[in-house]
Amino acid sequence: MEEKNLKVKDLVNIGVFSAIYMILSFIVMVPSMASPIIWLLWPAICGVVCGSIYMLLVAKVPKKGTALLVALINGIIYFAIGECTWTIILSFAIAGIVAEIARGALGYQTTESALVSCGILAAGFIGSPLPMWLFQDSYVNSIIKMGMDPAYVANMLKMISAGSLFGFTAAAFVGGLIGGFIGKVLFKKHFEKAGII
């Protein structure tokens, strides 16, 4: 692991693990879209589910660029299959860059940097429910047209306010941390003995 740059082998590892990362998040996504509240929590759920995959990847490829590439690939594929809009590329790109900075600061080999970047990546999923915040005008219009109770409208808006955006992003980060810890436990039990990492 002297080499700093990404080799073909590392790129293939990133590709394969990104596929699993994306599929797992996608499996969780389908049922969670049934209700807006679960959909808002989707990034956090993804963090828990996908964390261990990412932890194994960074253990195998402890180099610069891993986090950013995973984030970009997920964003691009989610965009290309049309499940999400350009917001997800944006949020994943930001998450990827922030994760890279965190990894650079904490060192590529340490557990802390893996855990923190895992949480940051999970926050990138916030781009999927982000249209809910962006389409707010449409909701308000249609709710008012339907003759709703103003108190209820205010309540609804509370759910999709700037504060809640921050809150759900933070929840995603915590979810990612939990996923990372699960990954660590699994490693201790299975992978270290088998000599995979």
């Binding site: 590892n13 594929i77 965009f79 609804m156 299975h190």
Partner: protein
């Protein structure tokens, strides 16, 4: 990855990418139901022409169903439930043109051609290689899932926590092994070679491509202009 359907018309991958970007930018500033529906109709015509009528039909059915829910069902539902479902119904309906444009790109473009196009657009190899591997690995994953579930039945694994553990661990171990094998295979095929790769099918822009591209650019321009005109109201 299934076979690429042969349609009456064919587009350059670059055209499809531009179309996807234009459509997904447009729906964020659009508030008119008519414009939204007409975009969808155009996309459906393109999808039928490219040879994926099933996708187009599915999009149309979902769109009509969601519109019916929005204007027919929601007014008669109790307020609590209606407001909740309103968000989902509106979001999905607005995102549907995106689904369709994405379907057009993914279902009618082969991976090889996509890789070639990305290279032509000067996307760095560090991104193209893992991206293609990811797309290539999806079908392998579904095989993997089958094998794991068979093995779990054979060993009679009980309990959710245990089941999850028994899915995760083999999944990660096979992925790790596959990655090693795959990298040896593609290195043997010369992916390390720094010269630009070539492709048997050349991509070029035809008349129809230019028409769709001009329309997409127009849509993008209109979106950006609108954003400046009604500043603050949208986005």
């Amino acid at each position: 990855m299934g076979a690429i359907p042969k349609g009456v018309i064919s587009f350059d991958p670059r055209t499809k990418m531009l179309l996807l970007i234009a459509v997904s930018a447009f729906i964020f500033t659009n508030t008119s139901y008519l414009a939204e529906a007409s975009i969808l109709v155009v996309l459906m015509l393109i999808a039928v022409g490219l040879g994926i009528p099933k996708t187009a039909l599915k999009g149309a059915i979902i769109y009509i169903a969601l519109s019916a829910v929005k204007y027919g069902l929601l007014p008669i539902l109790p307020n609590m439930i209606a407001a909740n479902f309103n968000i989902v119904a509106v979001t999905f309906r607005k995102l549907l043109p995106c689904f369709l444009a994405g379907g057009i790109l993914v279902q009618t473009t082969s991976i090889r051609l996509l890789m070639f196009t990305l290279q032509k657009l000067h996307i760095p190899q560090t991104l193209i290689i893992p991206l293609t591997i990811t797309v290539r690995y999806f079908p392998a994953l579904s095989e993997e899932r089958q094998i794991i579930s068979d093995a779990m039945k054979l060993r009679d694994v009980k309990g959710i926590a245990k089941k999850l553990e028994y899915v995760y661990v083999p999944l990660m171990i096979t992925a790790s092994n596959t990655a090693d094998e795959l990298s040896q295979a593609i290195t043997a095929r010369g992916i390390d070679n720094p010269v630009p790769k070539t492709c048997a099918i050349d991509i070029c822009l035809r008349g129809l491509d230019i028409l769709v591209m001009v329309a997409s650019v127009g849509l993008l321009g209109w979106t950006i202009a609108k954003m400046f005109l009604y500043q603050g109201g949208y986005l």
